[in-house]
């Protein structure tokens, strides 16, 4: 964290942390969320890769329509955790898990659950932009429908609304037939967000969506996240603490002390950055380690 005179001043007055100024950056919601469902809940989630125990007993609730940031040093299991949410964890050979992930009160790991339906309800945006290279921009956005074989009445309308919500419409409306690879990195990532939106998920998982992008694109995507949070539940993994402060309602701090990653603390974002309960959280958010 960079300590500026302003933040020092803010600290000296009421807030104990140097991050107080960014912690309040996210404005309070002005209107009710339209997110559907009752949110997502992780109950006692553990995860392994082969014999490697990577995640220990995570209990977290994500209210419908909330934005939750997961922060913590590299290798503490944040990405693994969000991949257990939409059952992408099992995609890696040797992966194992324990515990429950409840979507609208139903365990996504229960026997007989259609895993492809779960992934439709819980969308995901990856760290590296990965538009499908063989498809045009328009086809990329609608690819989820084709993959899951969903019929839609008005494809053009959906295409436009997804691109508008992802904040990309104005930049690509005249070249929807161009290939996805012709876009810049930030545009590609927003295309991936639009693609995830097209299948109207209840929950959107974002695994460091801005780590490969420049500040301008990052800002654009953060705006997108804020707009999306009106209609869906968002969980975002980030290494950028200002980003967590800017976009999230809640923040969970993960840490691994050599063993499996654990969740140290979860709270309202403003509290995590101003009055963390745990000393380790305070050390991390103030930049003393990690």
């Amino acid at each position: 964290m960079i300590q500026t005179p302003e933040s020092e001043k803010a600290m000296s007055s009421t807030q104990p942390s140097s991050l107080a100024s960014v912690a309040n950056a996210r404005q309070e919601r002005t209107h009710a969320s339209t997110a559907t469902g009752t949110g997502l809940e992780a109950r006692g989630v553990h995860a392994w890769f082969g014999k490697n125990y990577v995640l220990k007993d995570i209990n977290l609730e994500f209210a419908a329509g909330s934005v939750t940031a997961l922060i913590g040093p590299s290798g503490c299991g944040k990405s693994t955790f969000i991949r257990t949410m939409n059952r992408m964890h099992e995609f890696i050979p040797g992966a194992a898990m324990a515990g429950q992930v409840l979507l609208d009160g139903k365990d996504v790991y229960a026997p007989g659950v259609d895993v492809t339906k779960i992934r439709l309800q819980i969308g995901m945006v990856f760290q590296k932009p990965n538009p499908f290279p063989s498809m045009t921009i328009g086809e990329n956005v609608l690819s989820g429908l084709k993959l899951a074989q969903i019929k839609v009445e008005n494809k053009d309308e959906l295409l436009e609304s997804c691109l508008v919500r992802a904040g990309l419409w104005n930049e690509v409306k005249d070249r929807l037939d161009a290939h996805g690879g012709s876009l810049s990195g930030g545009q590609q990532q927003r295309l991936c967000i639009a693609r995830a939106l097209a299948v109207s998920p209840q929950v959107l998982l974002m695994d460091e969506p801005c780590s490969a992008l420049d500040p301008g694109s990052t800002l654009r995507i953060e705006e997108t996240i804020r707009e999306l949070s009106d209609s869906m539940t968002i969980i975002i993994v980030t290494h950028n603490m200002q980003q967590a402060a800017r976009v999230s309602d809640y923040t969970a701090f993960f840490l691994s002390d050599g063993g499996p990653g654990e969740m140290i603390e979860v709270s309202r974002t403003s509290e995590i950055f101003s009055q963390p309960k745990d000393q380790r959280t305070e050390n991390y958010v103030t930049g003393r380690f990690g």
Binding site: M88, T116, F126, S134, M135, L147, A148, C192, A196, V199
Partner: protein, 347 residues
Amino acid sequence: MSAVAVPTKPWAKRPQERAIGISFFLAAIAFSYFFVAVTEMKGKLAYAFVFFVAYGLFTSTFSFINRGPQAAKDSFVSTVVSLGAVVTVIPIASILFTVIQKGVPGLHFGILSNDMSMATSTDPIANGGVLHAITGTLTLVFLALIMSVPIGILTALYLTEIKGRFAGPIRFLVQAMSGVPSIVAGLFILSAVLYPITKSFSALMGALSLAILMIPTVARTSEEVLLLIPNDLREAGTALGGTQWRTVAMIVLPAARSGLMTAVILGVARIAGETAPILLLTGGGDKVNPNPFDGSVGSLPYYIWKAFNAGSPEAITRAWAGLLVLMILVLILFITARALSTRKISK
């Protein structure tokens, strides 16, 4: 005052350096002529050999005197590397040159529209043609293609996407299969299908044996291509709610399209000129056979073999012309496949 910058290449060779290089080259040529004349050595290869040795010695000695032993080694190794490249190209260039030189006199106006049913091996060149052989070869390649491409690509998908329990043994067997001599594939079909079941030559029999040869090539190349597709794309497809098959069909295969086309090209290249199983299984007629499932069928390798065997000057010219046609045919197949694989997806 701002000087106008002129783009220069300070690292480029100066004219006198270039002149020294050329003079070494000429000296080596002169030396090779001199050396071959003085000693017992004979033939073009002797000139080439002496030239390379002399050039290597001259340049490395010069480097040694001017810049020391390291530079001498450097220039010697670069001569050896160029030698390797030239030696590789010589046979290919030589084959191309010979086939064109000897094949062109055998070409005539009706070569692509006539077959050999009304011509004998001693007839003038202008009689007959290779129509039956071209149609036969195209039939054989096409039949082998539609059998081996699906099997080969499905095998590759099993190895890369499903990664089932048998992936290891299957990969091993496919590799072993690619070493099967073509005559073995021919004899296998002869004894397993032709003698006990169909009891007659046909294009299908030939295509079956060619498919045995083509499947491992297609499977192995496709596997390598599919392994190059980033896992990100598979994850993205899966995370969007696609089943594994939908993800593979919609994302992985289209992304690998040009590579898979290369796999098919390599497979076709493997079989287009294959002769041994063709001799055993197709019977090699002189007439166009429209039925691929029954009756003898001609093909370019068979035509070439038969014409060389006939031995008359006209027949040998025909054989060279047949070779030329085969080479051009393979070239056309390659160019078509390349064009298809790089064409933009249009809807």
